[in-house]
């Protein structure tokens, strides 16, 4: 078996594609004007920023005036949530509804607000990683300022009933934000049809640069700034516009959203082959609903081994994968997402996330399916936990 290099961690980040890079390149050294400058070099930069804004708007079914560029998905989440909190607290609304398995950009922002006089209800998810919209309905109170529920989970890839939740929010006259960082480019989104009030996205998950994101804010919502200063982004987000990254995001989202169905048709069967192949190993389970999930995501718990060593072993075999979210690696706690769907700590520690895209070949799939059993075997052989399991002893 010849060693291959397979990047199967597209949910963590993606390479900037050649097409995106070539759209960006002129803006570093030639078309480098400040988009706020009055001379042609500046005006051209501004025109390019506006073209990119248009592309983001088209991809979401929004109006360009509703798109604001930010520095990342995390900033978008922080802005939407803290901004709404600031705005609504003036009306005495100091309650937020979210879910237990949001990304930390949402969770830690909610925790911050809890320290500043807000109450937060964390709606549970079921064992398949899905949110029941009725739970959202029941969580909404008179003083609810915002409901924020992620579109697709970053670890287990499950897709939430966003349109249903949005509908409930509108019935209850509560604003609805969704962290769609993992969804954009992979599922079809239409903010108007789906009734989404605010939506966060991030460029580096769809082959644009890291450090660029956007927030869609429905017309009529006057969100206070998170970052004050110059008049950029119609006065709503200060900081000299990151023209190359913005242009790149425009191109990337255009490409990513141009063939969502076709990509899913290619990726899903390969993803399923990986799932079925890995599940042949004893003591494994698929995390998250098998169907209501992102086409390229699989997340499997493999008992008796620990995730980080699994990843390091896979890396030695040329496979880039993840366990829990990249942002929290370095943390010792098992993934809050896996705990939220009912996994025991020791099982949650041994989970594997692969996030693939349409460029993965059948040979790559074969290779992964050859490597994983070997690596798992090796790790289980040296695992005292596996030994206990095999001896029928209790694992504490």
């Amino acid at each position: 078996m010849e060693k291959r290099f397979i990047y199967a961690d597209n949910a963590a980040t993606t390479a900037v594609s050649d097409e995106v890079l070539s759209a960006m390149l002129p803006h570093f050294t030639k078309a480098y004007g400040n988009a706020s400058s009055i001379y042609k070099l500046g005006r051209d930069a501004q025109a390019d920023v506006e073209k990119a804004r248009e592309k983001v708007a088209v991809a979401l079914g929004a109006d360009p005036k509703e798109i604001f560029f930010t520095s990342c998905g995390s900033e978008s989440d922080n802005w939407a949530i803290k901004g709404t909190a600031e705005m609504m607290s003036k009306k005495g609304k100091k309650h937020i509804v979210t879910s237990v398995f949001e990304h930390h950009a949402v969770l830690h922002t909610c925790e911050y607000l809890e320290k500043h006089g807000f109450e937060v209800t964390y709606v549970p998810v079921d064992e398949k990683g899905l949110i029941d919209s009725e739970n959202v309905r029941n969580a909404i109170r008179e003083d609810t300022a915002l409901v924020t529920i992620m579109y697709a989970n970053n670890e287990i890839g499950t897709i939430q009933p966003i349109e249903e939740i949005a509908k409930i929010c509108h019935e209850k006259k509560v604003l609805f934000h969704t962290d769609a960082v993992q969804a954009v480019g992979h599922v079809e989104i239409d903010v108007k049809k789906q009734g989404i009030d605010m939506l966060s996205l991030s460029g580096h998950k769809i082959h644009a640069q890291k450090g660029i994101g956007a927030l869609y804010v429905r017309k009529g919502i006057v969100l206070p700034n998170l970052i004050h200063g110059g008049g950029q982004e119609r006065g709503k987000r200060a900081g000299t516009e990151n023209v190359p990254a913005i242009v790149g995001l425009g191109r990337a989202i255009e490409i990513a959203c141009s063939n969502i169905v076709e990509k899913a048709d290619i990726v899903t069967p390969k993803r399923n082959r990986l799932i079925d192949g890995i599940l042949k190993l004893p003591y494994t389970r698929l995390n998250g609903d098998r169907d209501k999930r992102l086409p390229g995501n699989l997340n499997i718990s493999i008992e008796g081994i620990e995730g980080e060593s699994l990843l390091l072993m896979l890396d030695l075999n040329g496979i880039c994968a993840s366990s829990g979210s990249a942002c929290t690696s370095g943390s010792l706690d098992p993934s809050h997402v896996l705990l939220s769907i009912g996994l025991k700590h020791e099982v949650a520690h041994g989970s594997l996330r692969l996030s693939i895209e349409e460029d993965i070949t059948d040979e790559d799939v074969d290779y992964i399916l050859e490597v994983i059993p070997k690596v798992v075997e090796r790790l289980r052989e040296m695992s005292p936990v596996w030994e206990k399991m095999m001896n029928g002893e209790e694992v504490k």
């Binding site: 390091l312 010792l332 098992p334 040296m382 005292p384 936990v385």
Partner: protein
Amino acid sequence: MMYSEKVLDHFSNPRNVGEIDDADGVGEIGNAKCGDIMKMYLKIDKGIITDAKFKTFGCGAAVATSSMATELIKGKSIDDALKLTNDAVVEALDGLPAVKVHCSVLAEQAVRAALSDYYTRQGIDPLPIVGEIKEPEE
């Protein structure tokens, strides 16, 4: 978080993995809930550790510190092995990320647990010699 080359080397090619069937002392430390369990096997002859092996469930640092700890005590006297500190393990590995230092403590304690077991089997109360074994906090 960054692993040194040494850590990666000891993870990729862990020394002394396995069990010793007729071990003179076996110690286990940690728990699966926290994500790390180390089991250490020692062969001891006339106060000298003639062989050491381990099994570990845990992260890269857990494997690397187990590997390094066994290397550091093999061929040493029990007295020297009892002087093994987690700092020495960390140093021998060219450092560990702050969040992973607890793994080196586990390795140190696993050695002591195995020595404790050795004394117990000899009918000697290990406590005055080895001291208390510290289980990691949950």
